[in-house]
């Protein structure tokens, strides 16, 4: 229904474009000068068609459900129902009217389902009538108004400008959406679990917080010693540390080699090949780590008499490091190439070898940029999910032994939220609280890294 209406409105828009342009041609044929190209008259009318349609559509989308609900529930008012019961009744009759209801059908619900259907159809038909009449009225008004000296280009361009501006707000809206989705659950979580216990507690067993009914949910003693995030944070940074131990030397050295030593031919092939590593989906790395690297390390460890967990932090961290190599190598390559040639020439002129020049002149000059690229790599490592979920343990051990298994923030979020979630359960809220801490940590890293890189670029540009 909505789709048909929408198509119809789009057709109306095209028609008004046609009429606007036609009117412009008519004016032109009377030898009057137009103030804008004829198609602007068309666009002008089309916009007058689109704006009322958009306004009415969005008003309807916002208010229709609330009003229908109020009207249906007005039947039940003064009968001593609680709010929750009323909501349930409403949802039941809605489901029944769609034929998706599977519970016991009472006459009450049946009656409101029928009422719901009739209200919906009234709402639909009044929407059609109102939208169409509003469009026709506004287009007719605008059509009357355009004459030889009316301005059409300026309003059309202003409108376009407004559309462009709105689109650019999408980035801000996304950030707001992220904060919004995280913050309420996080606040609710900290109402039950004290912030202190979360940040400094050393036991993380969310499975213990299994809530059977809502009376238990608010009993704080039940959650003592279940949501201490220290093992999680420690595991996250530990795995990230292992990853960086692999990624920094290999990434940095290959970046230096590509920038300073490699011939154009080697560079031409090696650089895209290394960058393939960045394009491989993380779930593939996870599979590789879980199926190949984990068992391999375990066997290697056993042959040397060491006890290695099949889901060791080393396997997850190592594979994660491989994933991060291309980020560090291509960023540091860029950074090193943008160091001005004069610095190199100066160093060669006093007799330094190439490696001495790199170590003593270029590296210090490029250091801020390299630090920035490493920080971006760290932020990637902390936020990486699938490798850890598949290759590292899911139990949160507080350990610094790379051969044991640990868990990370991202892995815990997935473990908690996979399957069905009950909002309002502290376990679910804990996942959002972890998400919030992840967001804040990566946000700080990103801001610092981006600022450092930007400062560095400005210095040599």
């Amino acid at each position: 229904m909505n789709l048909i209406l929408f198509t119809f409105i789009v057709l109306l828009g095209f028609t008004s474009y046609y009429f606007g342009r036609k009117k412009a041609y008519t004016i032109q044929s009377t030898k009057k000068r137009l103030t804008a190209l004829p198609q602007f008259y068309g666009y002008y009318l089309a916009i007058w068609c689109a704006i009322p349609a958009f306004i009415i559509f969005s008003l309807w989308a916002i208010f229709e459900p609330t009003i229908v609900k109020l009207l249906i529930l007005s039947d039940y008012s003064n009968q001593g129902y609680l709010d929750d019961e009323l909501n349930l009744l409403y949802e039941k009759s809605k489901a029944l009217s769609r034929g998706q209801f599977t519970g016991e059908i009472t006459p009450f619900i049946e009656a409101s389902a029928e009422k719901y259907l009739s209200l919906r159809s009234i709402a639909q038909s009044s929407k059609v009538v109102i939208v169409l009449s509003a469009i026709i009225a506004s287009v007719a008004y605008a059509y009357k108004r355009i004459s030889s000296n009316s301005r059409t280009r300026e309003p059309v361009e202003k409108f376009l400008n407004a559309v462009l501006f709105t689109a650019s707000l999408a980035a801000i809206l996304t950030t707001v959406g992220i904060v919004f989705s995280l913050i309420f659950q996080t606040i609710d979580f900290f109402k039950v679990i004290p912030l202190f216990d979360f940040v400094f507690g050393t036991h993380w067993y969310p499975a213990k917080a299994f809530v059977r009914d809502s009376s238990e949910a608010l009993d704080p003693t039940m959650y003592s010693d279940t949501f201490g995030a220290v093992p999680i944070f420690a595991g996250t940074f530990f795995i990230a540390f292992i990853a960086m131990c692999v990624a920094i030397p290999i990434g940095l050295m290959s970046g230096i080699y590509l920038a300073e030593y490699a011939s154009t031919k080697v560079r031409q092939y090696a650089k895209p090949l290394i960058e393939i590593l960045a394009g491989i989906p993380t779930v593939v790395y996870g599979f590789f780590a879980a199926l190949t690297v984990g068992p391999f390390l375990k066997e290697l460890g056993t042959s040397m008499g060491l006890e290695v967990s099949a889901e060791s932090a080393l396997a997850a961290g190592g594979v994660m490091g491989i994933m991060i190599i291309p980020f560090i190598s291509s960023l540091s390559d860029d950074v090193i190439t943008s160091v001005p040639q004069s610095l190199r020439d100066g160093s060669y002129a006093i007799g330094a070898t190439k490696s001495e020049t790199i170590k003593r002149v270029i590296f210090p000059a490029a250091l801020p940029g390299i630090v920035g690229s490493i920080l971006l790599g760290v932020s990637r490592a902390i936020g990486e999910t699938m490798i850890v979920v598949m290759a590292s343990g899911l139990a949160a051990n507080l350990t610094l032994n790379p051969l044991e298994s640990t868990s990370t923030i991202t892995a815990q979020i997935v473990v908690i939220l996979i399957g069905d979630q009950a909002f309002g359960d502290p376990k679910t809220q804990a996942a959002f609280a972890l998400g919030m801490s992840l967001f804040l940590v990566t946000l700080c890293l990103n801001i610092v890294a981006l600022r450092v890189v930007k400062k560095y670029r400005e210095k040599y540009e």
Partner: protein, 422 residues
């Protein structure tokens, strides 16, 4: 003194060579990882494209199927095939006792009844006759036949019994086991049985998600890029937008999953597990990537183009829409494709919005529950059955194939259509 100098020089040259070697070996290591990686995936995955069939003689006994004389098409549809299916498996070994008959039945997939039915529906004249029918082998036998399954384990540690192996070997020597290209891997939806599981449902799920993502992210991102690059005044607010975009590009993907869960599912009540929600979540993630690419390619259009248009009397909007934007399109499009390729490989946010549900139907629209290719990889990788390991690798090969095609496409657009200024 002179000797000392020479020694020092030698030392310095050696250090130079060592440093160079470090660099070379770093590159070598990175490429080695890549090779091991691809080799491992291909060597475990290529066998999934073959499927093992048992050729079993089936007697279409009208009595066992409870059919009358001259059955109609509907009768054939509703007939009972289980008994003849069971009988034809049991007939493989005439001396089998009841337990052994059960084991014989488990040598083929539970789909065998349907396969026999399809045979008869294709040729109704078969009633009363015997024909050799291709039946899908169970995944354990499939693995045995492909050599992926150790036969020398003690019997209680493997899923195939000695008896099944004996019968299977007889079939092999009689040439009644055949390996063919595995079409069902591409046409079947997911299944709990490895031998029947296919990627059709997750593939459609991926396609729908990517389409939704493209339809939302591309227009919004291009419009935003045009505003920021061509019209935005330089002030605090636009700086703030820029900081936001750069940050969003580096926010971990799982946070977008939380956004999808907390806003799209919990507040807007969009249907769970659907490519619609997945696509919207992915579009928020790809938005900054496309904006950054589009801005870069708008920036690359030389000012002379704009100046020429303005000098001819075009307004700023006309200059942008008629000249700058079309010239920047190749770069924008290739950036978009790269962003979509990233979105195609994304797993974590889709898991959070419930796209890991077991779906054994092929979705027909973005509003139907579905998985996606990377999520399918995750689901299969988590299952214990051996038959899924090669499926995972094969699914990875399909996914990597798509990513390579998309990236090549992006390269081609960039090189073929982008104008080189200067």
């Amino acid at each position: 003194m002179n000797k000392n100098k020479e020694q020092l020089l030698n030392k310095r040259y050696k250090a130079e060579q060592r440093f160079r070697l470090y660099g070379l070996s770093a590159i070598f290591m990175a490429l080695l990882f890549l090779t091991i990686f691809i080799f491992k995936i291909f060597s475990t995955g290529y066998s999934a494209f073959q499927k093992t069939w048992l050729i079993v003689p089936v007697t279409f006994d009208a009595e066992l199927m409870m059919l009358d004389q001259n059955p109609s098409k509907e009768d054939l549809q509703d007939a009972d095939y289980y008994d003849i299916a069971l009988k034809s498996m049991a007939d493989l070994d005439p001396n089998a006792n009841e337990d052994q008959e059960n084991e014989l039945k488990r040598m083929v997939s539970y789909f065998f009844e349907k396969e026999i039915k399809n045979e008869l529906l294709n040729d109704p004249n078969l009633i009363g006759k015997t024909k050799e029918v291709y039946l899908t082998a169970s995944d354990d036998l499939d693995q045995v036949f492909k050599g992926n399954y150790p036969r020398d384990l003690p019997e209680d540690q493997r899923r195939v019994s000695d008896y099944q192996l004996k019968i299977f070997d007889q079939l092999v020597t009689n040439g009644k086991v055949e390996s063919k290209f595995n079409i069902s891997f591409f046409t079947n939806a997911d299944s709990r049985e490895a031998e029947l599981a296919g990627i059709a449902s997750s593939f459609m799920g991926s396609i729908f998600s990517i389409l939704v993502c493209l339809m939302i992210a591309f227009p919004v991102a291009v419009l935003a890029a045009i505003y920021l690059e061509e019209f935005a005044p330089k002030n605090r607010f636009t700086d703030f937008i820029e900081v936001n975009i750069n940050n969003l590009a580096a926010v971990p993907s799982i946070v977008f999953g939380l956004l999808g869960l907390g806003v799209l599912l919990a507040i807007f009540h969009l249907p769970r597990s659907t490519p619609l929600v997945g696509g919207i979540t992915l579009s928020l993630m790809t938005l900054p990537t496309i904006i950054i690419a589009a801005r870069a390619s708008l920036k690359a259009v030389p000012p002379s183009i704009r100046e020429a248009a303005l000098a001819m009397g075009a307004s700023r909007m006309q200059t942008t829409m008629h000249h700058t934007v079309p010239l920047s399109m190749p770069g924008t499009l290739s950036g978009t494709i790269i962003g979509l390729a990233q979105a195609l490989g994304e797993t974590a946010p889709l898991i959070l919005i419930g796209m890991v549900a077991f779906v054994n139907t092929i979705p027909g629209s973005p509003m139907d529950p579905a998985a996606s290719l990377p999520v399918q990889i995750y689901i299969w990788a988590e299952s214990a059955e051996r038959g899924f390991v090669e499926k995972v690798s094969a699914c990875i090969m399909v996914l990597l194939g798509f990513l390579i095609i998309m990236n090549l496409f992006a390269q081609i657009i960039r090189h073929k259509f982008e104008k080189k200024w200067s």
